[in-house]
């Protein structure tokens, strides 16, 4: 369904309409305004270069961004890992409840967990973890607290992804498997889950991408992630735009790369599907 929607969007060709004309006129106007403000002069170019040198090259300041990126990826990866485990457990509880293995207490707990963690901002959860729950844990590396906070948070989302994936498989599949004499567990394992996985994997990657961007608030509890590294450079050079734009570009490149991977993965997973 998602695939077809996107393909439709991509292949829908519009002729050059009034929108294009207007956009063109505005672009020319903006270029003219930039030209007038001396944006294309040699002095402006030199100034840009000087500031670029100050922000990133001098004293190997780019290493601050590299270290920040490392922290961001480290946190995101481990948080996703924790999220996968938590999400798997929660979704098993919830799906099993519907499938007949009724343990009301566990199901209620899982529901509450998902409601609370999805219903509050990750930033607020992070602050609560750091300043309330782990208030007295002083020698614990703050990064681990962040990983825990982001991991448990994304666990709630991943649980819903898993559940959605399993429930998206037609009931008839389960019924057919059961009528052939397979047990509930075996029908799940052999028939439902392999099909669900196909729907779930791209969404898990999307969750990873979302989490990657979400960790940008980790600076609030004192972790030098990519965003915070940019802010540290700002404080060092007192330059406002360049470090932030650079940080944005780095995030974008990573996200574009991951999106590309998801797309390839989707194609690979849907091979043989008519």
């Amino acid at each position: 369904m998602q695939m077809t929607m996107r393909n439709k969007f991509l292949t829908r060709h519009n002729g050059a309409g009034r929108g294009d004309m207007l956009l063109g006129v505005v672009a020319v106007f903006l270029l003219y305004a930039l030209y007038n403000s001396g944006f294309f002069t040699e002095a402006a170019w030199n100034d840009f270069n000087r500031r670029f040198y100050q922000n990133f090259i001098k004293d190997r300041r780019y290493m601050m961004l590299v270290d920040g990126l490392r922290a961001t990826i480290f946190m995101t990866s481990w948080a996703t890992f924790i999220g996968l485990i938590v999400g798997l457990i929660l979704s098993v509880i919830r799906v099993a409840y519907k499938g007949g293995a009724r343990i009301p207490v566990l199901n209620a707990l899982a529901n509450t967990y998902i409601t609370v963690l999805r219903g509050t901002p990750a930033m607020v959860q992070l602050l609560i973890w750091n300043f309330t729950i782990f208030a007295s844990a002083r020698d614990l590396n703050t990064q681990y607290i962040a990983i825990l906070a982001f991991g448990l948070n994304s666990g709630a989302y991943i649980a819903e992804i898993f559940r959605g994936g399993i429930e998206s498989i037609d009931h008839g599949q389960m019924e057919a498997a059961r009528s052939l004499g397979l047990s509930y567990g075996l029908s799940m394992k052999l028939v439902v889950l392999p099909q669900a996985l196909r729907n779930v994997i791209p969404m898990l990657f999307n969750e990873f991408i979302a989490l990657l961007k979400e960790t940008s608030v980790a600076g609030y509890i004192g972790i030098d992630d990519l965003t915070r590294a940019g802010q540290n450079i700002q404080a060092l050079t007192l330059e406002h735009s360049q470090p932030l734009v650079m940080v944005a570009i780095i995030y974008l490149v990573i996200v574009l790369f991951l999106t590309h991977v998801v797309r390839k993965l989707e194609e690979w997973l849907s091979r043989g599907r008519r």
Binding site: T142, G219, N232, A235
Partner: protein, 267 residues
């Protein structure tokens, strides 16, 4: 979609033309009472700005997490003045074009190290170390190093954090965007506060650990025992005294000033 983009672009252009109005230039701090002001969140600059603006603070005061953001807003004309400490303001003056500091100071403040309320034992130890450092000139030497030299050349690795000390760790919370008091350079920290804390740690036979966080998170961190003390050019105020204990002052008479645009200021 394209039409929508085009409309947005036209709107931006129109707005940028429409809102570029001319103001009466600033002459005295009295004028600030009805102007858009900014301060770093949780700093004394914010308290002063709130006092200046009175009832109008809700609409006229913007608080920022970082000074760099406030200065960017100032240069873009979103605000007219930033209330901040004189020393960091001077640093902005040196490296950012088109800024000025109003001659008239808004107030004079004292800096001290903050502790969790009731942590008298550590306060006394630090006070003893501070008074020794004041007496033997160590403190003056640190100030001289940063106020009369190019501190951006200082290598963080030259600051001795007393690694592996027997007395355990001395965790200090700070906001390292407040040069010359504290600044993050590469993976390390430099600054007057950092070097002072390093000396204190040595005297207490403890290893200095610096935690870099947002300024408004510092009181929370020290009261929940995340850090032993907070040292970030913190002004001693009666309000803060209710929630934390302070060491003796290590800076007396630090001015709070208004940072404005040079072309907006008439001396």
């Amino acid at each position: 979609m394209k039409k929508f983009l085009a409309c947005v672009a036209v709107l931006i252009v129109l707005c940028s033309v429409a809102f570029a109005d001319e103001n009466v230039k600033l002459k005295s701090v009295e004028q600030l009472k009805t102007e858009k002001l900014a301060a770093q969140r949780g700093t004394v600059g914010q308290f002063i700005a709130e006092d200046l603006l009175g009832d109008k603070k809700a609409s006229l005061l913007t608080t920022y997490e970082k000074y760099v953001d406030a200065v960017a807003s100032l240069r873009q004309g979103k605000i007219r003045a930033i209330i901040m400490d004189e020393m960091p303001a001077k640093r902005f003056l040196q490296s950012v074009e088109g800024l000025a500091i109003m001659d008239e100071a808004l107030s004079e403040e004292n800096y001290a190290i903050g502790f969790r309320k009731g942590n008298t034992e550590l306060v006394e130890k630090v006070n003893k170390a501070l008074s020794e450092m004041k007496a033997d000139g160590t403190l003056d030497k640190i100030f001289d190093k940063y106020l009369n030299g190019d501190y951006l050349e200082i290598n963080p690795e030259t600051i001795d954090f007393n690694k592996g000390a027997k007395g355990g760790k001395l965790v200090v919370g700070t906001e390292a965007g407040f040069a010359p008091y504290e600044l993050k350079v590469g993976n390390g920290f430099i600054g007057i506060d950092i070097e002072m804390c390093a000396e204190i740690a040595k005297k207490l036979d403890r290893e200095l650990v610096v935690e870099h966080m947002n300024f408004d998170a510092l009181p929370m961190a020290v009261s929940t025992n995340k850090v032993d003390m907070i040292c970030a050019g913190i002004t001693v105020t009666d309000e803060r005294k209710e929630n934390m204990d302070f060491s003796d002052n290590y800076v007396v008479g630090a001015k709070q000033v208004a940072l404005v645009r040079a072309d907006d200021y008439e001396k």
